[in-house]
Amino acid sequence: MEAESWVPGPPLSGSPPGGEGAAAAAQPGAPEELTFDDDEEDLEVFSKDISLTEANSFSPLMPTSPSSMINQYKFEDEPELRDLFIIVDDPESHITAIETFITYRVVTKTSRGEFDSSEYEVRRRYQDFLWLKSRLEEAHPTLIIPPLPEKFIMKGIVERFSDEFIETRRKALHKFLNRIAEHPTLTFNEDFKIFLTAQAWELSSHKKQGPGLFSRMGQTVRAVASSVRGVKNRPDMFTDINDYMETFTQKINLLDKISQRIYKEEKGYYYELKEYGPIHTLWCASEEELVDSLKGIASCIDKCCKATEKRMAGLSENLLPVLHEYVLYSEILMGVLKRRDQIQAELDSKVDALSNKKAEKDQLTEEIGNLEDKVECANNALKADWDRWKQNMQHDMKTAFLNVAENNMDYYEQCLATWESFLTSQTVDLHLEEDSEDRP
């Protein structure tokens, strides 16, 4: 079993995040502004399953390519520390009288003592993942819980269960669980363990015990309300993080849109090239003298077309899912910041109450003491997780964009080789013709 390619685990002692005041440099001669119409909201993520390999998967069904292995060893610092490995695969459709839904197989392999067995295989549906996420949020309101793929795709989706949709969702769910597994705190969460190990009926009964989704909603509503009021005593650090996240959210959304648009244009280009090449072959039929040249061009265009297909696959497998995940992350972070503010607001309001009511002084003082602890814990947890998140983000972005650059280089190098060999063949012919003309 191959280790997964993930970012290094333990968070470093962080430097204060963001807030580098320098204004963005003025862009000389800004490129043509892209007009994003409403269609760009469409988050259709195409995932052409062109290559059998996937860097993130180590399922025995899917062979790992040498390049994905190289990826792993490039970025993996200490593979030996991992003791929990999870795969999400094998989507299956279930049809009942009431509904149709998909379940995914979740396979876990672990060497941890707290697990009764070293291998587990369960089936989970999207609802179950939602449940897990809400449980984690409740247990750790100021930790950054990884994002789940959206429930629906916003515009233009026809088939909720199209193969592409299911595959994209599967990959995202896989990532979700692995992110949790790597998180120093979340990985030991009890609900997480149950999610990975319990049989279907066990999970159902366990779910019924907990508070459920509604309390989470209540929490966030209160959180939003409190941040609207404004938190007076918010430490600068968190204001800085907030400011950073506002800009980051904007930029990541733009990058997501831009990248989707590039994919769309590349796809269009691919289809046009597919038609363009064969016309040259057709032309051969009426041109005796030009057959070699025309066939050569047709073949070159065909090869470039294949190279384009590969480039597109690279986008849809690497950059697009990463950017999309961070779009979701930015929403999550805003939520986390609000929840922290809300915890602080609870403390602040008690402190205010203390200065007004002299009567219940002792009780209030005790409550304040508890809340102060709560605030301190929340702040520390968030701070540590923020540093960790920031590091991961930098790493993921760097990796994703490096991958884009490499894919483009490969693409152009392939095309270059094709055209150069065509040119060589043509000029060789020319020289032969010239030589034969010189001879008497």
Partner: protein, 403 residues
Amino acid sequence: MMEDCLSKKIEISVSEAEKRTGRNAMNMQETYTAYLIETRAVESQTEGQCSPPDSLWRRYSEFELLRNYLLVNYPHIVVPPLPEKRAEFVWHKLSADNMDPDFVERRRIGLENFLIRVASHPIICQDKIFYSFLTQEGGWKEMVNETGFQLKADSRLKALNATFRVKSPDKRFTDLKHYSDELQSVISHLLRVRARVADRLYGVYKVHGNYGRVFSEWSAIEKEMGDGLQSAGHHMDVYAASIDDILEEEEHYADQLKEYLFYAEALRAVCRKHELMQYDLEMAAQDLTSKKQQCEELATGTVRTFSLKGMTSKLFGQETPEQREGKIKVLEEQIHEGEEQLKSKNTEGREFVESAWADIERFKEQKNRDLKEALINYAVMQISMCKKGIQVWTNAKECFSKM
């Protein structure tokens, strides 16, 4: 033979284009473009001295007039085509407007190419009207019209009629017609799809330009990643900008193909002329045969075929022997004339076929050379584009690695 060509004696160029306003035939104001034709004797160059060129201005309609004149007076020649009247096979960024500077520029080059082609043709380069077009500013239009070439032109209707009714055209011309249809069809298709490919390619490159802007804005909030992002963004801008030159060059390639698209029509014109001449010949032969038959019937008194005259003479009485002899004599004269005409038409036809076919062979060689060169040029352009791409993304990769 090539030594006789005008192109060896004088250097021709269409060096400038200028917007003009004037009044047209209906006294309405119009805007048009005028092109400067410069000619310079080749010898004056080799002496190491560059004497100033002679020059005059012409507009597109005058080029059209010249070409129509050549078409009528040299029907056996594949007359080089003019660049397109209106922009076709346009993709979204390209303007379809005739006054657009890029269109005007490409037309200027096309017109120059036309003049050089004519000047390089061993036969039509010697035409006096062509020479005056290059050298005589005033009164040229009147001179052309005075040749009365418009009257010599075959009517389209006549030509169409001949195409459908001709019985035994030379097979080579029939094949040539099919070839020119195929050539036109395949090049049109190719140009249409190429335009769509260009459109998409433009989109891919230009959208990358947005990365430049957003990376720059993002870099402002990033401590460690900032520099890498900012410089990568710059390379994205370079990438996005590079497509403009690439596609402009490709437009010239499209123009080369378009020239041969229009050449297909010139080939068809030669075929039509052959069909017309052949049909004319067949009609004359048919006429002669029927006259001979009439003569024979009158002479022998046998009526082989039904004729109104025969019937009326049966009904209303026979002709007198003198009348009959008179008729025979007239017919014999006509037959003699007809035989002479047929002979000369046959000769004309054969000469036409010979000279036309010689020019067609010349054209075929030219076409093969030119198209092969164009295709090689296309490959060269692709190579250049790939190299630029590798450069930009190598630079971008380096910036990303510093993130």
